[in-house]
């Protein structure tokens, strides 16, 4: 393996920065990331150069914008007119510079007007909601449904040719994009705890908005402004190209139209204004993209679990080729284990070429009829381990070490970098199944529950739809749903969370698997429902004699349900053994700490502590 592997494995999860509390920290790193990105530097340099040329136009331009030398029309470039002259004998270079001035100023005016309207309206609508929001949403709907150029034609017909009036009008027209962005951002932070805390501590609404909320919308607004300035330049130039601009001003649009009229005589007149436009708008588009990238990189660091897709390395196709050959046999004497994970390591390639390990040297096995609990805090690698067995790791994940075998065959043979989907797709659904954590987001909202139960059975077991339907109704009864017909024909949004989790459990056992992997199956549920679901799981497991891997952060659940338990911390296996031994006599300090942090069996210290929510993994 050529990639350098970080041996330190993964440290504790990076402290998630609250945007409101650490605005300056976030911003400075974003700026640094932006400047490290070549696209960011290039776009900033282009825009800076064009702005400088525009500002210095009166100094730099050898001629006035409308000075014409009738004796020298459509001239080729020479030492006096470095880019030649147009059909009226005006200097192309000078007009280009003055055009830059007007173009940039009008784009700024447009963006300024749009921000001045959209931002405060979005803040008020997002923060207070109510009637103001309803009315502004309605107005936004109307503004958004009008094509910009048609509106500008109307404005031109009413007010005559003026760059400024048309850009103010376009600013009003495009203000909904700021409005929507601000409103959505404000709504999402309005109910965050730190805003509540600010409110409780007696800060006025105004200073809450200024301090907390503005820091959230700042970056998106800059991205939006880059895009809008580009659109404004395009629209304004289009209007001038049509001959509806101010004829006394030199602009790129006017120059383009002038060039187009003389296209048979001197097509290079077209080139310069088109080039200037493409360069400016391109610079703005690139800047917007670069800022977005810089922000998203920040997100990746904050939420390592949702590590975004990195491009595949060269090793991946090799691993895929390897898998088509016959797979090595598992070690003798281990065939009887339902699942055996040996020295497993899982990592994610980082931008700097190293690999960040999230699972390191993990070994355990599960037999038929046995429930293994994997316990650990969020970020301990327990879910990553579970997804490696299922073959459902994110695309960019790599198996950096070890092997996984299922029922006497390797699913990940030693030395393979990726889980082989061809092998796993024969097992998934049929022999290995999965119960997810969050019931609602794991059902497709567009299909009925019945459809989502029936289809896997038809595909995996090859039975008829009618038979699958009968089995689905039986399964729904088995998992304790009182009115199975009604649930069968319901859409996911029509049932409760507890019901949806029962449906997912029914789905997991529908094809009679040998192994069920349950990833925090009760965390998202109400406490009373939690107990029911655990009882259901145990009952099904005993009846069907299946192996279960139960991923949880809760020792209570482990004590209730599991035969053996594996404790994980920072990607490593800390301790593994029968539940009784580990609960009564934990050898490792970390296990003792975890056990001590449980609330069950303790005297409540005060109301505040006993009503505290469990951390959600």
């Amino acid at each position: 393996m050529s990639d350098s592997v970080e041996t330190a494995a993964v440290a504790a999860p990076a402290p998630s920065l609250h945007p409101g509390q650490s605005g300056t920290v976030v911003r400075s790193t974003v700026v640094r990331r932006l400047l490290r990105n070549p696209l960011g530097i290039i776009s900033l340099a282009i825009l800076l150069a064009i702005s400088l040329l525009a500002v210095l136009a009166p100094v730099l331009a050898p001629f006035q914008e409308n000075y014409s030398n009738i004796a020298k029309t459509l001239a080729a470039p020479d030492s006096v007119n470095i880019l030649g002259t147009d059909s009226a004998g005006r200097d192309v270079w000078s007009r280009l510079l003055f055009g830059a001035q007007l173009t940039l100023l009008s784009a700024l005016l447009c963006a300024g007007v749009a921000i001045a309207i959209g931002l405060p309206a979005g803040l008020i609508a997002g923060y207070y909601g109510g009637k103001f929001e309803a009315v502004s949403n309605w107005a936004v709907g109307i503004l958004m449904s009008l094509p910009g150029l048609i509106v500008l034609l109307t404005i031109r017909a009413a007010f005559g040719p003026s760059v400024w009036i048309s850009m103010i009008a376009f600013g009003i027209l495009i203000s909904p994009s700021y409005f929507r962005l601000t409103r959505t951002a404000v709504q999402s932070v309005r109910n965050e705890l730190y805003v509540d805390a600010a409110r409780v501590s007696g800060l006025s609404d105004l200073s809450i908005i200024a301090r907390h909320i503005f820091s959230v919308v700042r970056a998106p607004i800059i991205i939006q402004t880059a895009a809008i300035a580009g659109v404004a330049i395009a629209v304004q130039s289009g209007l001038e190209f049509l001959g509806l601009g101010d004829p006394t001003k030199a602009t790129w649009g006017v120059m383009l139209s002038e060039g187009f009229k003389n296209v048979y005589l001197n097509p290079t007149l077209l080139f310069w204004p088109a080039f200037a436009m493409a360069l400016t708008i391109g610079g703005l588009v690139l800047l917007g993209n670069a800022i977005r990238d810089a922000l998203e990189d920040g997100e990746k660091i904050k939420h390592r679990k949702k590590a975004a897709k990195l491009k595949g390395t060269t090793a991946a196709p090799a691993a895929a080729r390897l898998s088509r050959k016959s797979v090595a046999a598992v070690d003798a004497g281990t065939e009887h284990h339902l699942v055996k994970v040996t020295n497993l390591g899982v990592g994610y390639p980082q931008a700097d070429g190293s690999i960040k390990k999230v699972v390191d040297d993990v070994s355990f096995h599960v037999d038929r009829g046995e429930i293994l609990g994997i316990v650990g805090e969020s970020g301990s690698g327990k879910s990553q381990t579970a997804f490696s067995i299922l073959g459902l790791l994110p695309d960019n994940a790599r198996i950096v070490a070890g092997s996984i075998q299922f029922d006497g065959n390797y699913t990940v043979a030693p030395g393979e970098e990726r889980v082989d989907q061809a092998r796993l797709s024969k097992l998934r659904g049929k022999r290995i199944s999965y119960i997810p954590q969050e019931p609602m987001s794991n059902l497709d909202p567009a299909f009925t529950i019945g459809y989502q139960l029936v289809t896997p059975m038809v595909r995996v077991l090859g039975i008829s739809k009618e038979e699958a339907r009968k089995r689905a109704l039986k399964l729904l009864t088995d998992v304790g749903i009182v009115n199975p017909e009604r649930t069968f024909s319901a859409y996911p949004h029509e049932v409760s969370g507890g019901m949806a989790q029962r449906v997912l459990i029914a789905g997991a056992i529908s094809c009679e698997p040998d192994l069920v992997i349950a990833d925090e199956p009760t965390t998202a549920l109400d406490v009373t429902v939690q107990a029911d679901v655990l009882d259901l799981l145990r009952e099904l497991q005993q009846r069907l004699n299946i192996g279960v891997i139960l991923v949880t952060h809760n020792f209570g659940v482990v004590a209730d349900l599991c035969d053996r338990v594996a404790v994980m911390q920072n990607g490593r296996l800390v301790e593994e053994g029968p539940v009784r031994d580990i609960l009564r006599n934990p050898k490792e300090r970390y296990t003792r700490t975890l056990l001590a942090s449980m609330l069950e069996g303790k005297t409540p210290m005060s109301m505040l502590v006993s009503s505290q929510k469990e951390p959600v993994a």
């Binding site: 109307i142 077209l270 491009k311 987001s441 794991n442 059902l443």
Partner: protein, 313 residues
């Protein structure tokens, strides 16, 4: 579902009414002495007064608006102040030219953007890189500049295509398609790059949803997950993107028609704007708003059909 459509239709009519009123007042309040503009500087005060009476400009604005509405409801949008041609007639001859072009471009955009966007989202890697670079280039060059470049290089310099596209469908489908290809290409480049980009992110967003992982865990094949689940969930976002593209195109087509000298809505709108021929401007705005409302209604209906939450309630 029918109630939902009727509600949408009703709100569309409200929008039509509001926009017509706003446009009418905006146009007539601000545009100075209209009769003087039409008659020129040589006209006497009596002639101007007479013209004002003839055009009904001596009546209060509100009265004029409601008489315009009454006429419009009976299909009479007034007549041009300069050519005296009824506005409804001008629109009727020009709308087909513009709308065939817009719809041709729209269908191509929908197909290309969806294909490129979905492939980029599913394949990632170099395909995705190429699409993203293409999107940046497409975003950087305004559609009308693309039109100008196409005409200059392909039509004027190389002579591969006619520079003006005044050929009508009667002169044979081949010649017509041939003459329309440059303007349609000019119209669709921005739409394809912008649309593909947004469809790509909509599909990626769906692919990362939890239920996709659960479907995989149930043994459902990748193809079925993509076509039956992911694309269906990404469709509303894609439809919204495409409807916004179409709305934008109603403006862009004005310039494209001017470049290719097409007898569509564009030249009519530009001439009317330059002369402040207000009845024609009103007519153009009304046609645009009606198209937008119809498109939005269709998108709402399709989304309602795709989303059970809307369908059921």
């Amino acid at each position: 579902m029918i109630r939902f459509i009727l509600k949408r239709l009703g709100s569309g009519l409200v929008v039509l009414f509001v926009v017509s009123a706003l446009t009418f007042f905006l146009l007539y309040v601000s545009s100075g002495s209209i009769a003087r503009n039409i008659l020129g500087d040589q006209a006497t005060a009596e002639q101007v007064a007479m013209k004002e009476h003839e055009l009904g400009l001596d009546q209060p604005l509100v009265v004029r608006y409601f008489s315009w509405v009454a006429d419009a409801l009976s299909g009479n949008l007034g007549a041009s102040w300069f050519t005296s041609e009824p506005v409804a007639n001008s629109l009727a001859t020009r709308i087909p030219v513009t709308m065939t072009m817009v719809f041709a471009a729209m269908i191509l955009i929908a197909v290309c953007a969806a294909l490129i966007g979905v492939i980029a989202a599913v394949k990632r890697g170099w395909v995705d890189r190429v699409v993203q670079v293409g999107a940046i280039i497409g975003d950087s060059i305004p559609g009308f500049v693309i039109g100008v470049i196409l005409v200059t290089i392909l039509a004027i310099q190389l002579g591969l295509f006619p520079a003006t596209s005044t050929i009508s469908p009667e002169s044979g489908p081949d010649a017509w398609v041939y003459s329309m290809s440059l303007p349609v290409i000019a119209l669709l480049v921005n739409g394809v790059t912008g649309g593909a980009q947004q469809i790509r992110s909509a599909v990626i967003k769906q692919l990362e949803r939890d239920y996709v992982r659960t479907l995989r865990s149930r043994g459902i094949g990748e193809r079925e997950i993509l076509f039956r689940h992911v694309l269906r969930s990404a469709a509303p976002a894609g439809l919204t993107v495409l409807s916004l593209q179409l709305i934008g195109m109603l403006g862009g087509v004005v310039i494209i028609e001017q470049i290719f000298a097409l007898p569509g809505m564009g030249p009519l709108a530009v001439a009317a704007t330059g002369q402040s021929d207000l009845p024609v401007v009103m007519g153009v705005v009304m046609y645009t708003v009606v198209v937008v409302i119809v498109v939005n209604l269709l998108v709402d209906i399709l989304n309602g059909w795709l989303n059970p939450k809307v369908r059921v309630s």
